[in-house]
């Protein structure tokens, strides 16, 4: 549904996005991750048809943002970090206004459906200025969905929302995926991305530095293991050193030791490590594979890209 093809965008001498390529399929949530100023917002605005690429092209539903920007805009719904509402309007007049801008033939039933979905039915005729931050963000999402777009671009949508509202938003985004929309979630909230995205694109300093399925990224690199043992530290170090296992860390924990190592060949290395520990008289309480969080993967990728 979205294909970003070798897109570069410059603002004067500053390159906000450089030769970026990635895609989002229908019914998929792709998280565009990156630190502040990495180029996420520029990417979302390019796809939304607000900005033109300096080089390359972005195709949305088969339409080019270069040549068919107006039609691209009609297919996209954009939510920004700030709700950006006309606060003197009521929710009803605001949604009706945008429905008409998006050529929705009969706005009333669509608006009724959206406010029901967002839980805003009781405040339909209330001025937006009186809304809480969370309600305003819901109104912004309703605005983005008023024309039933095939593509939803969410640029830091959970900024300043409380945990309960964030959870509601998360559920809503997942439900929109089920409606076969292509969703691009620009965020630096790794927890959010880890929970709901199918794939992750990591951007840093305007360049795409990694792209892949969320689980793939998390499991990429050398898997690491943690053993809880009862023994003294020097015995453990000597035993594992003799067995050729590179210890990454030993830390005392409630009269025991937590020993960590990583390996590309767990079957071979772990067997040697455990045998060496048992031979040295250590008692083994548990051995666990350590799960790498998306945050660990992200930080490692960013560090690697900057090296």
């Amino acid at each position: 549904m979205i294909e970003v093809r070798d897109v570069t965008r410059r603002f004067g001498t500053f390159t906000a996005l450089s030769h970026a390529s990635f895609g989002v399929r229908s019914g998929e949530i792709v998280a565009l991750l990156g630190p502040n100023g990495a180029g996420k917002t520029t990417a979302s605005r390019l796809i939304a048809g607000i900005l033109r690429p300096t080089e390359g092209d972005a195709i949305v539903g088969g339409l080019s943002v270069r040549t068919d920007a107006d039609q691209v805009r009609a297919r996209c719904g954009l939510v920004t970090d700030s709700p950006a509402l006309y606060e003197r309007m009521t929710l009803r007049s605001y949604l009706t206004y945008f429905a008409r801008l998006y050529d929705v033939a009969d706005p009333a039933p669509r608006i009724a459906e959206l406010v029901e979905l967002m839980g805003l039915g009781t405040v339909l005729d209330t001025k937006l200025a009186a809304f809480s931050r969370g309600m305003k963000q819901k109104a912004a999402i309703a605005r983005a969905l008023v024309h039933e777009p095939a593509v939803l671009l969410l640029d830091e949508p959970a900024t300043a929302l409380d945990p309960e509202m964030t959870q509601t938003l998360r559920e809503l985004i997942v439900s929109l995926r089920a409606q076969h929309r292509a969703i691009l979630l620009c965020t630096h909230d790794l927890d959010e991305a880890q929970r709901i995205s199918d794939r992750v694109v990591i951007v840093d300093r305007g360049r795409i530095v990694r792209e892949g399925a969320t689980d793939e990224l998390r499991s990429a690199g050398r898997p690491s293991f943690r053993a809880e043992v009862v023994a003294d530290e020097s015995t453990v170090r000597t035993a594992l050193g003799t067995a050729g296992v590179t210890v990454e860390g030993i830390s005392p924990s409630a009269g025991r030791l937590e020993v960590r190592w990583s390996t590309v060949d767990p079957a071979e290395t772990n067997t040697r490590a455990l045998r060496a520990l048992l031979d040295a008289g250590a008692r083994i309480i548990s051995v666990n594979a350590e799960t790498r969080s998306l945050e660990d993967a992200y930080l490692a990728i960013i560090k690697e890209s900057r090296a």
Partner: protein, 232 residues
């Protein structure tokens, strides 16, 4: 055009949902009437004074338009409401036209009210017959046309510039600068009225129309989504 009208309607509601804006508009409508009342000298008041105040009655309400034009893009930028608008399927020309109509229509309406109020007040003070001879239908129409074209010129210039500045405050400073220019122009127009009446108004209308064409060409060339959003 339908979307431009939609945009204009929202702009007008937005502008006049602020009580301060309503009072400002009423002030500019009342000002020429007040001036003619203060400067009344009965039959001794020269015709030129009545005509100068007539020009002011037509043009003073345009000051509200200058302020609104300055705020139209800059205020939206500050409130960050411009991005959702630019993300909607509206052509650049419809955005500019909608914003311009949002400025032009209420100011033109105020100009009509102001001219009508002024004509009634002047008729009461100087006599119906004298005012009917001075503020003839072509003169009144000319003054109204002058006001409309004037709003168009200043509206476009201020709007194009305000789309390129970062804050409403800067935009208002630009509006202030344009208003200053407007006062100078009003004075110059007053001087030009020393000799002729309807012909001068017609000439002014043509001059301002030429300026409008230049301003609209400027808007067409220099205003675009890219420029507005790149500066957000």
């Amino acid at each position: 055009m339908r979307k431009a009208l939609l945009l204009a309607r929202r702009e007008i509601i937005e502008q006049y949902s602020d009580r301060g804006a309503v009072f400002r508009a009423l002030f500019f409508v009342a000002l020429p009437v007040g001036l003619i009342v203060i400067n009344r000298g009965g039959s001794r008041s020269p015709d030129i004074l009545i005509l100068i105040f007539g020009i002011q009655a037509a043009l003073l309400p345009t000051a509200t338009a200058v302020n609104a034009a300055a705020g139209s893009f800059a205020a939206e930028k500050e409130a960050q409401t411009l991005v959702p608008l630019l993300a909607a399927p509206i052509r650049d020309i419809d955005i500019v036209a909608g914003k311009l109509m949002g400025v032009l229509i209420p100011a033109a309406g105020l100009s009509i009210v102001s001219l009508a109020a002024y004509t009634v007040a002047a008729s009461v003070i100087f006599g119906e017959q004298r005012i009917a001879g001075l503020l003839t239908a072509p003169v009144l129409f000319g003054l109204f046309a002058l006001a409309v074209f004037f709003i168009l010129t200043v509206g476009v210039w201020v709007m194009v510039i305000s789309a390129r500045v970062g804050s409403q405050r800067t935009a208002q400073q630009i509006a202030g600068f344009v208003l200053g220019g407007m006062i100078v122009l009003l004075t110059a127009v007053g001087s030009a009225f020393q000799n002729v009446s309807a012909e001068v108004v017609f000439g002014l209308v043509l001059a301002v129309l030429a300026s409008d064409l230049a301003a609209l060409e400027l808007a067409r060339r220099f205003w675009n989504r890219e420029e507005a959003v790149a500066r957000l």
